[in-house]
Structure formats: structure tokens, C-alpha cells
């Protein structure tokens, strides 16, 4: 029982209890199923809050791994695979983001998913287990299991409840991610065999991986993570997956699954291969900047609002990568905060797009128009979220982008202002595509759909779904200090090895 009562173990696997409960519920009792799933997700969220803030076992002022649960698992033939989970400042907010977004996403399916509700909820809760596992695992093998495990439920969520072209999208998503993961698996096996352990903290402490081998391992990990982020030019699975995925799937995909990629860089690439990371920083930054500009440019030309939001993710995640590989505290803190921001803002955007899609069954921008007049609440919330996404000061996006810019500007690893300068152009472009979208859909004369279709404003459930996101959009925008405090010590600790490496390199 001790094993199960470990706070993090409890958080990670609690949704499985919900899955178990769902098994015994008749598939026709859709509302019971929904409430059970929602309840499970909410309890998971509460447990996660308790684990980090009220259990007294987690101290954010300490940069080390905490809430540790460590058991030997597979110890045969020199393989030291452990069940080893823990959390620190790098992962705490991502864990909370996962447990926070899952109930919101479930709430958004109340009316949207009528078909096979039971299966849907089971997959969804299993997905949550996978995501949480990715963020808590400290053993590479365990991490890999969770990492691959998330693919399965997502594949079915897209493939069964998706749009007309879901087959193509689901397969593309699955194969693309698999392809990257295989390289990572090889690197993981190399590490496990040659270093004698899969435990990440042990590997980091041990160090001493020769620089030329670091290089190969770094890029093998990067293959998996860069596809997940996705970094340019490996992003083309993302728009298809998003467009076909059901709303809740898109919210989780954008909100959490993409962060698994950026988190992977942070947790593995940086501490395990510091020399290689410093050497790769300009390359990664170049790709990040291209992604920022490219994603923004493509967003502007989209006719489908969901695709627009999907491509904007490519741009936003570019900022995250740019901040992270600046390899200084502002850059990395900004990157972590921006992961959260993107989860909140883009999650909210997908929710809003889904809410209108439920009524009209089209996402084509040009058939809308004049929505603000008809649906003032919807319009106002959309405007706030859009402004947050384009980084308006006072809202969350700005704080992240600004901190990242500060980091990129002062980055020794980049050694040039140009990355920061060019990335700032993305900020202009973001305003362009977001505002054009807003203008075409919400202002002006009524379009085809708005004219012929009775469109209702948001109902209470929908407002409740969005409200928590809005609270954080404003909170982070106005007073971000508590969020930075949560991660700062861990980031400082992460950066210690880089000081020497950067000194040597420049």
C-alpha cells in the first residue's frame, strides 16, 4: 500500500481507477459516464494540488527532485531498470497543467461526444496517465514506456472521433512520432547498457559521456523530441492531427502532448549532454526562429480556423525552444512559463473554436462574420484569448515572450543578438494572423453561416469550462512571480554545469 500512497504514484495512476469504474458502467448511461470521468479527473487534479502544495513533502525553494518513489523493477542481465518517479521545479507546472486541463477537456465533450462515450472517456483517462507518467518518470526506460503509451489513446481519439480525414491524420501522427521515438530508444539503450543505469539523476551525476558520443545521443533524443514539439521542418503532422482531432483531443494535444517534447529537451538533452547542447544551441535556435516566422506566415494564409491555431502552435513552440537553448535562467524560465501559457491560450482557443463548430459544423473562416454582435460573450472571450495568444502585455503570453526575448538577447550560447531580433518579427506576424481571423469571423457583416444559422451564445457549462483558463491568463499576465518562484531553483540547478561549458566554449 505504501507504494500506491506515494503522492506522485497516486497522482499518476489515479485516473486508472476511473477507467476501472467506467468498465462497470453501462455504455448507455452517458451522463453517468461523463460525470465519472469528470469526477476522476477533478480528484486527480485535487490530489496533484495536495501533493505539491499541501502534503508538506514538496518544497519549491529546493531545486532537487522531490516526492521520490524508487523501486527496483527489472534487474536482469545487467539491466538496472527501476520504477523511479519524482518531480522538481522543471516538471511541477507541467504536471499541474495536465491535471488541470484534463477535466476542462472532458467538460468540453459533454455535448460534442455522443458516440461511444464510454470508450472515449476510457481512452482519455488513460491518456492522462501516460502524460503524467512522462512528466514524473526519472528512469529512461520507464519514461520511454509512458512516452510510447501516450500514442495509443491519442491515435484512437483521432482515429475514431476525428473529422472526415481522420485516417490519414491518425496514421501520420502515429508513424511520424514512432519514427522519432525509435532513434531515441536506441540512444536510451546505449546509455543503459554502457553507463549501467537508466536512472536519469544517476546518469547526470555520473556524467563523463565522451563529447563525440554526446553529439550522437543528443541528436537521437532530439529526433524524438523535435517531432513532438514540433520543430520546423518536422511539424507537418501537427496541422493534420489538430484539424481532424475532436476538440478535447486538440486541447490536450496542444496543451500537453507538445510539451512532452519541450520537456524532454529540458529533462534529458540539457543535463545529460551539456557539451553537445551548447554546441547545438545555434542550430536549434536557427530552427526555432525559422519555426516562429514560418508558422506565423502559414497561419496567416489558413482558411480553416483550427488549422490557423494549429500552425500558430508551431510559431509559439519556436519561442519556447529559442528560450530554452539560450541556456540562461531567463531563457529557460521564460520557456517553461511559455509552455504553460501556450497550454492555456491555445487550449482555450481550441475550446472556443470547438464550441462554435458544434453549432455550425464548419470551421471555414470566411463563412462567419459579425459573430460579436450575435454572441457577445463568445466574442469577448475569444478576443481576450486571442490577445493572450499574440502576447499583449497584461496577459500571460507577453510575460513568457518577454522573458524569452530577454534570455535570447543575453544568451552567451547564441553569441548573437540576431536570433532574438528576428524572432521578434514573429510577434508582429502573430498580431496579423490573429487579428485578421478575429476581424473576419467576429466583426463586419454577417457571413453565410451567421446569416442563415441561429447561433447561440455560450451557455453556462461552456463559460465554466473557459473560466479557469481565463483566471490563469490574467494571473500570469499581471503577477507572474509565484509561477517563476516555483521553477527558479530547479532552473538554477540545471544551469550549473553549463557555466563551465559555456566558459570553455566561448
Amino acid at each position: 500500500m505504501n507504494f500506491l500512497l506515494q503522492p506522485l504514484t497516486l497522482v499518476t495512476f489515479f485516473p486508472l481507477l476511473g477507467v476501472l469504474a467506467l468498465v462497470f458502467i453501462n455504455g448507455e448511461q452517458k451522463n453517468t459516464i461523463r460525470w465519472t470521468a469528470l469526477g476522476t479527473a477533478l480528484v486527480t487534479f485535487v490530489i496533484s494540488l495536495w501533493a505539491f502544495f499541501f502534503s508538506g513533502q514538496f518544497n519549491p525553494a529546493n531545486g532537487d527532485l522531490q516526492l521520490v518513489a524508487k523501486y527496483d523493477w527489472i534487474m536482469v542481465a545487467g539491466w538496472n531498470i527501476r520504477y523511479y518517479i519524482a518531480a522538481d521545479g522543471l516538471s511541477v507546472m507541467l504536471i499541474l497543467l495536465t491535471t488541470f486541463l484534463t477535466p476542462i477537456a472532458i467538460l468540453s465533450t459533454w455535448k460534442a461526444v455522443e458516440d461511444r462515450v464510454k470508450d472515449f472517456m476510457m481512452f482519455f483517462l488513460m491518456l492522462e496517465v501516460g502524460m503524467l507518467g512522462v512528466f514524473v518518470a526519472q528512469d529512461l526506460f520507464l519514461f520511454y514506456i509512458f512516452w510510447e503509451f501516450t500514442l495509443v489513446p491519442m491515435y484512437f481519439l483521432i482515429g475514431i472521433w476525428g473529422g472526415p480525414n481522420r485516417l490519414y491524420a491518425a496514421v501520420k501522427f502515429f508513424l511520424y512520432t514512432m519514427a522519432g521515438s525509435i532513434l531515441m530508444l536506441l540512444a536510451i539503450l546505449w546509455l543503459g547498457v554502457n553507463q549501467g543505469t537508466f536512472s536519469v539523476p544517476d546518469l547526470v551525476a555520473k556524467g563523463g559521456i565522451p563529447v563525440d558520443i554526446q553529439f550522437w545521443l543528443f541528436w537521437a533524443f532530439t529526433a524524438a523530441f523535435a517531432i513532438k514539439v514540433p520543430m520546423w521542418p518536422l511539424h507537418s503532422w501537427l496541422p493534420d492531427a489538430h484539424v481532424e482531432a475532436p476538440t478535447a483531443g486538440s486541447v490536450i494535444l496542444a496543451g500537453v502532448l507538445l510539451k512532452m517534447g519541450t520537456y524532454g529537451f529540458l529533462r534529458f538533452n540539457l543535463p545529460l549532454f551539456p557539451e553537445a547542447a551548447v554546441a547545438a544551441a545555434p542550430t536549434i535556435a536557427t530552427l526555432a526562429v525559422i519555426g516562429i516566422l514560418y508558422g506565423a506566415a502559414v497561419s496567416y494564409s489558413q482558411k480553416d480556423v483550427k488549422k490557423l491555431v494549429a500552425y500558430s502552435s508551431v510559431s509559439h513552440l519556436g519561442f519556447v525552444m529559442l528560450g530554452m537553448f539560450a541556456l540562461n535562467s531567463q531563457g529557460i524560465q521564460g520557456a517553461i512559463l511559455q509552455m504553460i501559457n501556450h497550454g492555456l491560450s491555445t487550449g482555450a482557443l481550441f475550446l472556443l473554436v470547438g464550441m462554435i463548430y458544434e453549432q455550425t459544423h464548419t470551421r471555414e473562416i470566411k463563412v462567419y462574420g459579425g459573430l460579436w454582435k450575435i454572441t457577445p460573450v463568445f466574442g469577448t472571450l475569444m478576443l481576450i484569448v486571442a490577445l493572450s495568444s499574440m502576447g499583449l502585455p497584461g496577459l500571460n503570453g507577453f510575460v513568457g515572450e518577454f522573458t524569452i526575448l530577454l534570455g535570447a538577447f543575453g544568451s552567451v550560447a547564441y553569441g548573437s543578438y540576431w536570433y532574438a531580433m528576428l524572432s521578434a518579427i514573429g510577434v508582429i506576424l502573430a498580431a496579423i494572423y490573429i487579428l485578421y481571423m478575429f476581424q473576419k469571423m467576429f466583426l463586419g457583416p454577417a457571413g453565410e453561416i451567421t446569416h442563415h444559422h441561429e447561433i447561440k451564445d455560450l451557455n453556462l457549462r461552456e463559460i465554466i469550462t473557459l473560466l479557469p483558463l481565463l483566471v490563469f491568463i490574467f494571473w500570469i499576465g499581471l503577477y507572474p512571480a509565484p509561477f517563476f518562484n516555483l521553477m527558479a531553483p530547479a532552473v538554477e540547478k540545471l544551469l550549473i554545469p553549463f557555466q563551465a561549458v559555456l566558459m570553455a566554449a566561448h
Binding site: W73, V76, M122, V298, P393, F484
Partner: protein
């Protein structure tokens, strides 16, 4: 209450008003405007108290009111934000307080409070009038109340919050926050009548264009931070050591110093915000918004904020200046300012829309200030900033009053094809609208620099005097010609609008506006005259020395080294007199006898130049063709179709085709059995092919698989765990 606490509180009432109106009172128009105007009054009161306290504090420049809190942890230190009132922010706070309050009050009348709801008014369109029946049974068309009345007051409340935040900030970060909030409100208010395509286009254009500048500004802020580790004004601009460090560090571009490059980047923000060439294109279109918005945002406060920022960061420009030849950054600034001043003035000469004239005039006057800053005339720029805010707000509100009067005429005649903003439809309004006329005259004369009496004379004269004293001949010549044109187009406007005979029936039936609109005009005209007397140079013949040059003494204290007042010279004064009287006289002579239907008397003598000016030097066309067009192509064709769908997806698809073995394997073993059948027959036979081999498990129910998957996972896990020991 401590002054510092009061400073924190200044921006809050309008923000509170915004939320109150949006959340609770938006159904009640009277309540909404009461809250908004009340909030503006509270902020005004606080601003005046702070101003008084600032006047009473000795050595305010060395020892300003400050208060700070921690905001953003950056590594081991905090990025602090806070408030500060030094002499510069005190004078800015003063004019912002007054103009904002006056414009809030004016908006009540402008949006026809007390009038009936319109017959066919829609949200997102300006009111079209309502039909009322009087006691004799006659039907009249009268002005109708704005359908989104409450929303307007909410938005301007949010705007006022942004402006006050900017003014009381003690650092560039919160300045930027206020700056962007204003940008948002500007967007929302230009597009207030969002059902008009022109208003929507103007709103988005304004936001985009200023955003281009903002991003450079943001880079400047980031650069400054990476150099100094702080964004506080005091720590950078009032700190010789830091300034010296910035001035002596080389920047990676154009052989500038870091100070120069940071200054230039920040200045580009101003080019966008204060509508300087070449980012000026948004401001004239912004006149699509309601007139109070034009007066507040696009004349008195937001566009002034751009100049305010440049004044604020002025020590950066002078950090590596030897006080003789201008630095690269200063030359660029001076050139852009002077060019904008004359360029916009030429356009204003050929505009017919009463608000468009004022819009170009604003661009031009802001150019004067920027030019002054470029040549190091710190006090003169600040002085002109304040006087201009007063008289230009006055002129805009006056023009709104005129338009309102004309709309009254339009309602009367019922001919909705008459444009109430076209000055050629006016004439003779001085008799119909006397208060508007006299106050507009005062504002116009201040803008023209009518000698001695008006504030505009003193501030503009100071700029010219500075250019003369330091031998910036090109700037002096450019600004003098621009000033001549200013006086000319102002008199053209006054003459066409108020003098002569009414040129249309509508003008004949124009009507003076209600007290809520005329009171602000009167108050602002007091400042348009009186404020100039606060800055009379000490050695000015006759008047100098009678009233001390308070403005110079007070605002000069903002800098570490108080700037010297320039010595008095006759030549610039003579120029000032000649251009003011010359322009006004010329305007009067050319336009005094214009009849209805007559073309602009300038059309013939100017020849092909006239359409060139009327079409604003074709800058909009230029941008559409050379910027927007290629950008759209890059986005839609190059990046999306060629790169994304063509190259990137093409490679991925051909990888799949180049590996037919993998392809057919997937198709036969994964695609067909798993996906197709799963989706195809809609049954739950996900792992059907697997089921053939493991028939006993195959129950046809998806969740059975899920359980078995979990169970397998647990069993295998447990087994391995066991063996692990």
C-alpha cells in the same frame, strides 16, 4: 494619504469603471457614463493633487516621488516595477488629467445622451437618427443615441487606465504595458463602428502599423536590459555611470554605440505610435473612430505618449553626444521628425475632410517635437508636447462639435448623401455655432502659432529658436516652411468651415451643441492660450522676465544636467511672425470667397501636384502594392503551398512511397485491420485480426481489450518486479 500611494491609485478608477460597466451596468446608459466620468474625475483629482505636491517639492528632479514592488524574478534579482513622478511626468500627468476628463464629459453629448433610440440603428454602426412626433403631430428626425453607448465608455475607461499607467510608470516595462493597452483600445475604438468596412480596415491597420514599431521597441527594451540589468528610468537615465557604459560600448550594427542603437530601436516604437513617416499611414484612417476617440487617443494622449517616451529616454541620445555635431541616432531622429513635419503639412493642405486635416496636422506637429528632440532641444519638445495636447484636443473636439452640428442639419433635410465631415459642405457656421467657432478659432490660432497670445506660438517659437541657435539650418528651413503651411491650412479650414455663407442647406440648419460638448471646448481653450505663458523665454523683448520661465526651470530638473536656455535672437522670432501671419493671411485670402460647387482654388495653380497631395503621396497604394501584396504571396503561396504542402509533406509522402515494403506492411497489417475496420463497420472489433488468433479473448468489446491491456501491463510488470529481486 501619502503622495506615493496616491500615484499608485491614479490609473485605477478608469480600470474599475471598465469592469463595472462591462460586468454590471452595461444595460444602463446613464449609470455607465456616470461611472466612467466619475472615474475620470477621480483620476483627475488625484493627478491634480499629485501635481500640486510635485510643485511643492524642492529639487523634484533629484528627489522624485517613487515607490516600487518586485514583479518578475530574473535569476537572482527581481525586475521591479513601480511608479514615479518627476518634473516631466508631473507636467504630462497634468495635461493628461485635464484632457481625459474633458473628453469623457464631451463623449456624453457626442453620443447623444438623452436622445431617443434610433429607428433603424444597429450595433456597430453610427446612429442614423430617430423620428419623433411633436405635440402638433408633426414628425421630425432628430439625432439618436449611440446603440453601444455603454461599451464606448467601458473602452475609453480601459484606455485611460493605459495612459495613466504609462505616465506614472518608473520603468520601460510598465510603460510598454500601458503603451500596448492603449494600442488595444485604439484598435477597439477605431473599429468601434465595426459594421463599417472602412472602420474595420482602419482598426486593423492601426494596430499592425503600430505593432511594427512596438516590436523594435521591445527589442530595444530587451537590449537595454541585457546591457544594464534594469529597466528603471532612474537607474539608467539618471545615472552617469550607466550612461557612460552604454555610450562607450560598441553596438553590433552601423558602428553605433549601444546607447545609440538602443535609442534608435526605442525610437522606432515612437515612429509607429506617434505616426511618424514612414509608419504614419494609420493615423488618418484612424479618424473612422468616433471623434472623442480621435481627440483623446489620436491627438492628446496616445500619440503624445510616443513623444513622451523619446523625451524620457533622451539621455540615451545625448550620452555620446559632443553637443556640436549630431550623433547618427540624433540625425536620424531629426530627419524623420522634420521630414514628417513638412510632408504631413503638404497633405493637410489638400484634404477636405475636417478631421483628416487635423489628423495630418497632428502628424506634422508630432514631427516638430521629434525634430526638436533630434537636435537636442529637450525642453522645447516637452513644451510643444503639452501645448499641442491642449490645442489639438480642443480642435478635434471642436471638429466633432461641427460635425455634430452638421448632422443636425442632415437630420433636418433628410439628405443622407451629404457628408457632414466635408468642409466644402459647410461655411458660415460662425453664426450657427458661436461657442464652437470661438473656441475653434483659439485652437486654430494656437496651432498656427499666432504671436504672443497663443500657447502654440511660444512652444513652436522655442523649437525654431533652438534650431537657429545651434545652426541646424536645414531643420530650421524645413520646420519654418512646415509652420507656414500649418498656418495656411488652418486658416483654410477655419475659413471654409465658419466664414462666408453656408454652402449647403445642411449648414444652414446646423445647430450649436449641448453644454456637455461646449464646456470642454471652453476649458481647453483656456489652456490653449494660458499654458504658453508658463514658458516665455527670459530675454524675450518686452514680456521676458515678467513671468518667470517656469516650464524651463521645472522640466529641466528632470535631467542630471539642466539644459541651458538658448540665447534670444531676433531672426527666429521674425520667422515665427512671418510664417504665422503669412500663412493665416494667405489662407484667408484664398478661401474667403469660396462658393458652393466651386473647386478648390489651389487645384489650378498646383496642377498635378494637387492630386498627388490629395492622395497622400500615394503611400497607401505603395504599401498595398509593395508590402501587403508580397507578404500575402509569401504566406499563402510560398510558405504554405510550396514549402509546407509541397516540399515538406512531399518529402514525407515520397518517403512512404520509396519504401513500398513498409507501406504495404502497414497497409495490410495495421491500416486495414486496425483503422479501416474499426472505423469502417463501426463495431468495436479493433483488434479483429488479433482476435482470430486469440479467440477466447475476443468479445467484440473495446473495453475488454483495454482491461486486458492494463492487466497484461500489470502482470508483466509485477513479474519483472518480482524477478528483479
Amino acid at each position: 494619504m501619502a503622495t506615493e500611494t496616491l500615484i499608485w491609485l491614479v490609473p485605477l478608477p478608469p480600470l474599475l469603471a471598465f469592469f463595472l460597466i462591462v460586468l454590471f451596468t452595461n444595460k444602463s446608459k446613464a449609470l455607465s457614463h456616470s461611472i466612467a466620468v466619475g472615474a475620470a474625475f477621480l483620476s483627475w483629482l488625484a493627478a491634480m493633487l499629485i501635481f500640486a505636491a510635485a510643485l511643492g517639492r524642492e529639487h523634484l528632479g533629484e528627489d522624485p516621488f517613487t515607490s516600487q514592488i518586485n514583479w518578475l524574478p530574473t535569476g537572482d534579482t527581481f525586475l521591479k516595477i513601480g511608479v514615479m513622478i518627476d518634473p516631466l511626468s508631473a507636467v504630462v500627468l497634468f495635461f493628461v488629467g485635464w484632457t481625459v476628463l474633458m473628453i469623457f464629459l464631451y463623449s456624453v453629448g457626442y453620443h447623444n445622451f438623452g436622445q431617443p433610440a434610433g429607428d433603424h440603428d444597429h450595433k456597430g454602426l453610427p446612429p442614423h437618427g430617430a423620428t419623433v412626433t411633436d405635440e402638433h403631430g408633426h414628425k421630425h428626425t432628430v439625432l439618436s443615441i449611440e446603440p453601444m453607448y455603454s461599451r464606448f465608455f467601458a473602452f475609453i475607461g480601459l484606455f485611460a487606465f493605459g495612459m495613466y499607467t504609462l505616465v506614472v510608470s518608473d520603468n520601460l516595462l510598465t510603460l510598454f504595458v500601458g503603451w500596448e493597452i492603449m494600442g488595444l483600445c485604439s484598435y477597439l475604438l477605431i473599429g468601434f463602428w465595426f459594421a463599417k468596412p472602412s472602420a474595420r480596415a482602419a482598426a486593423i491597420k492601426a494596430f499592425m502599423t503600430t505593432r511594427v514599431g512596438d516590436v523594435f521597441m521591445l527589442m530595444g527594451v530587451a537590449y537595454l536590459y541585457s546591457m544594464t540589468g534594469t529597466l528603471s528610468y532612474r537607474a539608467i537615465f539618471y545615472n552617469e555611470e550607466v550612461l557612460h557604459h552604454l555610450a562607450t560600448t560598441a553596438a553590433p550594427l552601423f558602428g553605433m554605440s549601444a546607447a545609440g542603437l538602443i535609442g534608435l530601436l526605442l525610437f522606432i516604437g515612437t515612429v509607429g505610435k506617434s505616426a511618424q513617416w514612414p509608419l504614419h499611414i494609420w493615423l488618418p484612417d484612424a479618424m473612422e473612430g468616433p471623434t472623442p476617440v480621435s481627440a483623446m487617443i489620436h491627438a492628446a494622449t496616445m500619440v503624445s505618449a510616443g513623444v513622451y517616451m523619446v523625451i524620457r529616454i533622451f539621455p540615451l541620445f545625448t550620452a555620446d553626444w559632443d553637443h556640436h555635431s549630431l550623433t547618427t541616432t540624433m540625425s536620424i531622429i531629426a530627419f524623420i521628425g522634420a521630414f514628417t513635419a513638412i510632408f504631413a503639412a503638404t497633405i493637410a493642405v489638400a484634404q477636405n475632410d475636417i478631421k483628416k486635416v487635423l489628423a495630418y496636422s497632428t502628424i506634422s506637429q508630432l514631427g516638430f517635437m521629434i525634430a526638436a528632440l533630434g537636435m537636442g532641444a529637450y525642453i522645447a519638445a516637452a513644451f510643444h508636447l503639452v501645448t499641442h495636447a491642449f490645442f489639438k484636443a480642443l480642435l478635434f473636439l471642436g471638429s466633432g462639435s461641427v460635425i455634430h452640428g452638421m448632422e443636425h442639419g442632415v437630420m433636418h433635410t433628410g439628405d443622407h448623401h451629404v457628408d457632414p465631415q466635408d468642409m466644402w459642405n459647410m461655411g458660415g457656421l460662425r453664426k450657427k455655432m458661436p461657442i464652437t467657432f470661438w473656441t475653434f478659432l483659439i485652437g486654430g490660432f494656437a496651432l498656427s502659432g499666432f504671436p504672443l497670445v497663443t500657447a502654440g506660438f511660444w512652444s513652436k517659437d522655442e523649437i525654431l529658436a533652438d534650431a537657429f541657435a545651434h545652426g541646424h539650418w536645414a531643420i530650421l528651413a524645413t520646420l519654418s516652411i512646415a509652420a507656414l503651411m500649418t498656418a495656411f491650412y488652418t486658416m483654410r479650414q477655419i475659413t471654409l468651415t465658419f466664414f462666408g455663407e453656408p454652402r449647403t442647406k445642411e449648414a444652414e440648419h446646423a445647430h450649436e451643441t449641448p453644454w456637455t460638448m461646449t464646456t470642454p471646448l471652453v476649458v481647453l481653450s483656456v489652456f490653449a492660450i494660458g499654458y504658453g505663458w508658463l514658458g516665455i523665454p527670459e530675454h524675450f523683448p518686452g514680456l521676458g522676465g515678467i513671468v518667470p520661465n517656469w516650464f524651463h526651470e521645472f522640466v529641466g530638473g528632470t535631467l542630471i544636467h539642466h539644459p541651458e536656455a538658448v540665447a534670444f535672437h531676433w531672426e527666429p522670432l521674425a520667422i515665427s511672425l512671418v510664417v504665422a501671419f503669412g500663412g493665416l493671411g494667405l489662407g484667408w485670402v484664398v478661401y474667403k470667397d469660396v462658393k458652393a460647387g466651386q473647386p478648390d482654388p489651389l487645384e489650378k495653380p498646383l496642377g498635378p501636384l494637387y492630386p498627388f497631395l490629395k492622395n497622400k503621396w500615394y503611400f497607401d497604394e505603395f504599401y498595398t502594392y509593395y508590402v501587403v501584396g508580397p507578404m500575402t504571396w509569401v504566406s499563402e503561396v510560398f510558405t504554405f503551398q510550396w514549402m509546407d504542402r509541397g516540399v515538406i509533406d512531399g518529402i514525407i509522402h515520397s518517403v512512404a512511397q520509396l519504401a513500398p515494403a513498409i507501406g504495404s506492411f502497414l497497409r495490410n497489417w495495421f491500416d486495414k485491420p486496425v483503422v479501416n475496420e474499426l472505423i469502417g463497420d463501426g463495431s468495436a472489433a479493433v483488434f479483429q485480426w488479433l482476435g482470430h488468433q486469440l479467440r477466447f479473448i475476443q468479445t467484440g468489446r473495446l473495453q475488454a481489450y483495454l482491461i486486458s491491456a492494463v492487466a497484461t501491463f500489470l502482470v508483466v510488470g509485477a513479474a519483472l518486479y518480482y524477478f528483479g529481486f
